[in-house]
Symmetry: C2
Subunit: 319 residues, 2 copies
């Protein structure tokens, strides 16, 4: 099995009643700062304020009724957990979310507010904890990435971008396990062959940069990053081959420039993006990809879930 | 003389090369909080991050070349000053901006960054100071409001809203001197008779609520408000009769609810609005206008110019 454009198109129909078609805006006020024609796809304005609902909802809607009744479980640093909690609430089923201690407190609160059961553990143990609970209670595990049905849902971001017929020169996406990147690339490369697709990840957790350089799945040492949604330590096994085949490059962004990107979006773009989404703006500010004023660049702002406490970090940041 | 739809249409053509057509977004994530179908017109994403450039640019573009060469001057608590400074820079002419001490520091910095000459004074003296300087240097005064050409430019907000053919039940606008309200009402009431137009102002500075109640221009006592762009102490003489004739009501919003509105926009809408724009969201949260879930409501987010320091005020705010 793999991921096809048709899978993504079918997912789009399946999830349509549950998600928003998010805005794709031309942001002229950012052109001078980023040196290109700036467009933003605002998944920050999606249901649960992140793109994750697209993949989670597609996966969950494909389950049998009896599995839905038993309940679902997932692991997540936040946004996927919130998406699963939201889907469970919408469908009236039970959800358990295993959250790493290192994750965003703001996101954990939002997950609990949706009525899901929250289980905390160390980030390295999260998959084991979820597996144990799933076996014990016969829950269906809803993976945050590395799953074709999750990817098919996430790829609808790419379909919506393609529907604008803007002939983008570049599309840049935040990258952790690689689900959004692999699936959006599939949608884009099958509809607009001339568009280049880049991923951006924290330089402190360069799982894709390393894996692509070595040509094989590589696990990297855990390090902290302000980008709390981009903490996976290796690419997804199913995502990696697609990413390797389709994308045009990977950008590894410093923590300093992630914050610069976030502040630029807030102060000049007047939009709230989480650090994990700001990584794609930071990549350009850091000069990791050379763009020119004529280039039409679409930045996928994957989420906007950030507490006011994080804004403290922006005070002394220049851009 | 008065203000006509034709004036606004001509202004739209005149200023088109200098401004952005700003997004009008459906914001489903806010529906549950505001009890209606929420749409936002994002003048926060306008050039200089506020609607003021529309009026200032129209006024300035109508000046004779010899007056442009002598230079222009204005008074402003911030957004109009920034607009005038931007226009002057674009046209290569000299601008002086008289800024009240009570205004936003963030906005004053932005004005200086555009190369304008900044003159500070007490808020009550600002018009006298500007007049003295204008006479001394033969500058042309660009009024922030109460001017038909400024209004004609600002009314283009209404034209852009009308062009969406959404049949809004309500349009709600922040109000200070009344230029945006008078001019947008003119555009809307001439194109969509069934749409109700409301203004919202700080309850601490209810210059329109008082004037409308008494049926005449009323000067109110100066009080502080977090809404730093809504500090005028009486309606504009030219604006008031238009507002009185056209609008459906005025909402006076408490400081507490202005902040609630701002936090809601930021945390759930993921957009940055200044307190002076958040007043229209606060009005609904405070229950000052009864809306129902079927009502299509367009909120005009007039500006997004706010420093990170103001976000401190949001920490303990619930919505």
């Amino acid at each position: 099995m793999t991921l096809t454009l048709k899978d993504i198109q079918e997912a789009a129909d399946r999830i349509a009643p549950y998600i928003h078609q998010t805005p794709l805006l031309r942001m002229e006020n950012l052109d001078a700062f980023l040196g290109c024609e700036v467009h933003v796809k605002l998944e920050s304005m999606q249901v649960t304020n992140a793109f994750k609902i697209r993949g989670a909802m597609n996966k969950i809607l494909k389950l049998e009724d009896e599995d839905l009744e038993k309940g679902i479980i997932t692991t997540s640093s936040g946004n996927h957990g919130r998406a699963v909690a939201f889907a469970a609430k919408r469908l009236g089923i039970h959800a358990t979310v295993v959250v790493p201690d290192s994750g965003s407190k703001y996101k954990a609160v939002a997950i609990e507010a949706l009525g899901a059961e929250l289980v905390r553990c160390d980030v390295s143990e999260r998959f084991d904890v979820a597996e144990t609970l799933a076996r014990k209670y016969d829950y269906t595990y809803i993976p945050p990435f590395d799953d074709y049905e999750v990817m098919a849902g996430q790829g609808t971001v790419g379909l919506e971008i393609a529907a604008h017929h803007e002939d983008f020169n570049y599309i840049i996406l935040p990258t952790s396990g690689g689900g959004l990147l692999a699936s959006t690339s599939t949608a884009i490369k099958n509809t607009s062959a001339s568009t280049k697709v880049y991923g951006a990840e924290p330089a402190s957790l360069p799982r894709y940069s390393e894996s692509l350089a070595r040509g094989e799945l590589t696990r990297i040492p855990r390090q902290k990053t302000i980008a709390d949604a981009l903490v996976t330590d290796q690419p997804g096994e199913r995502n990696f081959p697609i990413v390797k085949e389709l994308i045009d490059g990977m950008l590894a962004v410093s923590e300093e420039y992630i914050l610069k990107g976030m502040k630029l979006l807030m102060m000049e773009g007047k939009i709230v993006a989480e650090p994990s989404s700001s990584v794609i703006i930071g990549a350009i500010l850091e000069g990791l990809l050379k763009v020119s004023p004529e280039d039409k660049v679409c930045f996928v702002i994957s989420g906007g879930n950030v507490g006011l406490d994080i804004l403290e970090n922006l005070k002394d940041v220049d851009y």
